[in-house]
């Protein structure tokens, strides 16, 4: 496999400008003749579909939800980064670029990240013009807050609902194009396969989730914007329907999956409370601006708290261990997510955890409430505090919140080059579903930035460089053998699932997979655990295909069938994640191999052996996937051990 990242020549700061100046474009009369499929309507998908529609392309947009406005970008709380330097605190495009590369533990591609930092400012302008109600100061100008991994305040926000407001902005732009007729919207319609003709992506097969009908759709190019694969862990902060199936289908058609072991465990989530639980709820990282994280200093206090004999507010200041402030004085409570998560796990494993299960730490606002008053805290985080109280039934203004790390985001994903094109010509991947910008760990408020950067400002350019060579290709009939075969395969897969008529529910398999993943491919990984996980996943997968039970039929609205198709893919992806984690014999970012750590317990990278992107290539059901390596070259940044002390 030839992994050419297609990084443009020239100095880092001029690459994108040069690319745009010399790339091929498609003229307006030809745009009308070109069809583009965009799968997914989150920040990346909706912004891309809207922007491509505005340019005059013929766009077909798909989502599995009842409306494009539901995509899970909507749940992002804290904010979106941009290098505006409105605060005059020393920010710049270079600094945002540098922080992102460093935060990602030197496992991301320099050129892509620099471009991301460069277009970050355009995103803010665009969203303001759309009427996104960002937080403002009394002078009427935009307000900022700080996030982990940065020493400047560059995060723009709309209360604790930034993702919602940005997504509704993109959804509005998309709605405008639907009305204009440039975008055709397909809701409750899920992609089940990619159609490749003569080596190029030419369409998709979908299932209408209401009727069960399988449909064929042609396009000159296909864009997947289908999000991350965090739900492989069953419990995560992802939406119930979030899935990896589109990414997995294109992998089987020839695209590579890069760095699948890079998953982000977010430090501030509401702890797990029961085995009936269906998902985990995030408490925004922005809370770490004003909340202080601690556990009791004495084991006996921790014990007493767990048994309900002692309240956290009764523990004296001197008996509290603000362990992030202690270990990382320079960044304190605002260390990057991977560092904060591991530190919480370390304290809990050592017996200092709180909550009924001992798997929780405190996030305490008392100091800030004393300093700023409750009203200010309420203004900043009111909806988050309310959400916490609704779920946990405790008032966080009076007693500290309890939090614990949970699976949140996946940095790995479909391999793409500088143009966001996969190894299948004409197939592009944008947003969380690609691997490109966050390396081994994503900084807070950077997911929204990347989704919108890809969708508004990168893909609408780069896709034209591809399509300009395709202007003479007329629309291909969906009766060609490639479409017919792809549909036939899907129908066979569905029939096979329906005919098993086993004894165990889809969810029961998903939960078993989730436990294997969390225990062995979660926050701490070892060679032994990963080897065990690979075998255990195989066992669950074989059992799934023999014993899964799906009531109802495939020609009706059938959520059990939808879940089964997704879980079948998770059961294969989970194994690849473990394999990738096993192969990467180093610790970096969210990937922590316990064998590779410093004496102080920090991640120990091995740049000599592993400074590359691992891009896995599918070789068929009965063959092991092949590992391709894209070396990472740092020409503008001095690679160093991350230091947040």
């Amino acid at each position: 496999m030839n992994l050419n990242p297609k990084i443009p020549d020239g100095p880092l700061a001029e690459k994108w400008t040069n690319y745009k100046a010399h790339q091929n474009l498609v003229n307006p009369s030809n745009k009308r003749k070109l069809d583009i499929i965009v799968v997914g309507t989150g920040l990346a998908g909706a912004s891309a579909a809207a922007s491509l529609g505005e340019l005059g392309f013929n766009v077909k947009s798909f989502c599995y939800q009842d409306s494009p406005r539901r995509a899970h970008s909507i749940a992002a709380q804290g904010g979106i980064n941009a290098a505006k330097n409105y605060q005059n605190d020393g920010d710049s495009v270079y600094r945002l670029f540098y922080d992102t590369i460093k935060g990602g533990d030197y496992r991301a591609r320099e050129s892509n990240v620099y471009r991301l930092a460069e277009v970050s400012n355009n995103i803010i302008d665009q969203c303001v013009a759309q009427g996104v109600p960002f937080a403002r100061d009394y002078g009427g100008l935009l307000d900022n807050r700080s996030f982990g991994g940065a020493q400047v305040s560059r995060t723009f926000y709309a209360r604790g609902q930034t993702g919602q407001q940005l997504l509704l902005g993109a959804y509005s732009a998309l709605s405008r194009q639907i009305k204009a007729g440039t975008v055709t919207m397909y809701t409750r319609d899920e992609m089940l396969d990619l159609v490749v003709i003569d080596g190029k992506a030419r369409g998709i097969i979908t299932r209408d989730l209401v009727t069960g009908k399988i449909n064929r759709h042609f396009a000159h190019a296909v864009v997947i914007a289908t999000g991350g694969y965090g739900n492989v862990f069953f419990l995560s902060t992802n939406a119930m329907g979030s899935n990896a199936s589109a990414a997995w289908q294109v992998y089987k058609r020839g695209a590579c999956i890069a760095n699948p072991c890079f998953t982000q465990i977010h430090p501030t989530c509401i702890p797990v409370h029961g085995d009936y639980q269906s998902k985990l709820t995030l408490m925004s990282e922005s809370l770490r601006n004003d909340g202080r994280i601690w556990v009791p200093k004495k084991k006996e206090d921790a014990e007493a708290v767990r048994q309900g004999k002692l309240k956290p507010t009764q523990i004296a200041e001197d008996d509290r261990d603000y362990y992030l402030e202690r270990r990382y004085p320079a960044f304190g409570n605002l260390v990057p997510r991977d560092v904060a998560s591991r530190a919480a796990k370390e304290r809990c494993d050592a017996g200092f955890g709180v909550g009924a299960t001992g798997l929780a730490v405190y996030l305490d606002f008392a100091t800030s409430i004393n300093r700023l008053g409750q009203k200010v805290i309420e203004e900043r985080y009111g909806n988050l505090f309310q959400m916490y109280e609704k779920i946990v039934d405790e008032n966080p203004y009076e007693t500290p919140m309890m939090i614990y790390p949970a699976v949140h985001y996946t940095m790995g994903g479909v391999w793409v080059d500088y143009e966001l094109q996969t190894t299948i010509p004409g197939l592009f991947a944008i947003g969380e579903c690609n691997f490109s910008d966050h390396g081994a760990n994503r900084l807070g408020a950077s997911a929204l930035m990347q989704g919108l950067a890809d969708g508004y400002f990168v893909l609408p350019y780069t896709i034209q460089n591809y399509l300009s060579a395709d202007i003479r290709t007329s629309r291909i009939s969906t009766d060609t053998p490639e479409f017919v075969d792809a549909e036939q395969k899907i129908k066979e897969r569905i029939s096979k699932l329906m005919e098993i008529k086993g004894k165990q529910s889809v969810d029961s398999f998903h939960k078993r997979l989730g436990h294997i993943m969390w225990d062995n491919v979660g926050m701490g990984r070892t060679k032994e655990g990963l080897t065990k996980a690979i075998e255990a996943i195989k066992v669950v997968r074989e059992e799934f295909w023999k014993d899964v039970r799906i009531p109802g039929t495939d020609t009706e609205f059938n959520p059990e069938l939808e879940k089964a198709l997704r879980v079948a893919d998770f059961l294969e992806l989970g194994e690849l994640m473990a394999k990738d984690a096993l192969e990467r014999e180093e610790s970096c970012g969210g990937h922590f191999r316990e064998e590779y750590q410093t004496e102080e317990g920090e991640a120990s990278r091995n740049d000599e052996r592993f400074m590359y992107v691992s891009a896995w290539e599918y070789k068929g059901q009965d063959h092991a996937p092949v590992l391709n390596k894209e070396p990472l070259v740092y020409e503008n940044i001095k690679v160093a051990q991350r230091n947040y002390k």
Binding site: Q65, S67, A71, I74, Q126, G140, S175, K390, I391, D393
Partner: protein, 246 residues
């Protein structure tokens, strides 16, 4: 906790529906309403029966996909929450709970508790946006906006499009939903440019789609999980009349 559930079951849009009674036991008080339904569905799958279909996705109260009319109230008996954030501690063990879909002419039933709310998308498509293309916009700080206006716009923009306002309204009016979007843009300078056109188009589309009118009962405000204020409807009326006389 133990419950008797009376749940609306309907095969598809064309067939007639009916209530079916189920018993569910040993439910934790910390469990959400949808997690309680998950457990019921596990039981049904065990018996090889079709699970109860309901819409849901984010399960953190923001995507607006979950719905349900629980004991006569959209999103149940807690205030300021969606069904996914409603917890069983708000019920008493032994309660009988009646679960229906949101009912409105403009929201046809797809199956069981699943409804089609695409009418909301159609209203937004008429004018729920500022008509700017990607690129070529001024700097974010070029348009100062008074904090009070930005905050009010944000209050309105918090709408999640779940349709509880329609379900709560005796007229099945979408006025609170439409007014939230109209208000968000009416309060911001970016939205003023096409304010007249917007309100006109969105209100007529709402009427075309079969939503009822507003008679100021305020049930929508009382049941809105995001506590969108009735004053937005007053603003909608004002915007609408101004668009007609000027």
């Amino acid at each position: 906790m133990d419950f008797t559930l009376k749940i609306w079951r309907q095969e598809n849009a064309k067939t007639k529906g009916k209530f079916v009674t189920y018993q569910i036991n040993n439910i934790s008080a910390d469990c959400s309403f949808l997690e309680m339904l998950d457990q019921l569905n596990e039981q049904l799958v065990d018996k090889f029966e079709k699970p109860v279909c309901f819409d849901h996705d984010c399960r953190e109260g923001i995507c607006g996909m979950c719905s349900l009319y629980i004991n006569g109230r959209p999103h149940g008996n807690d205030s300021g929450v969606t069904t996914c954030q409603l917890h069983m501690r708000h019920f008493k063990s032994g309660d009988t709970i009646v679960v229906e879909p949101f009912r409105a002419k403009a929201f046809p039933i797809i199956k069981d508790l699943v409804i089609d709310r695409s009418a909301f998308d159609k209203i937004i498509q008429e004018g729920g946006y500022v008509s700017v293309n990607t690129g070529g916009v001024p700097d974010g700080n070029a348009i100062p906006i008074p904090k009070a206006d930005a905050d009010l716009a944000m209050d309105a923009a918090a709408c999640i499009g779940c349709g509880a306002c329609v379900a709560a309204c005796k007229n099945a009016s979408a006025m609170l939903f439409v007014s939230a979007k109209v208000s968000q843009f009416a309060l911001l300078p970016q939205g003023r440019v096409e304010a007249k056109r917007r309100v006109d188009l969105m209100v007529s589309k709402m009427d075309d789609l079969g939503f009822g009118n507003c008679t100021n009962t305020g049930a929508c405000e009382a049941e809105c999980p995001k506590e969108i204020k009735l004053s937005n409807i007053a603003r909608l009326f004002r915007e609408y009349y101004v668009s007609k006389i000027s």
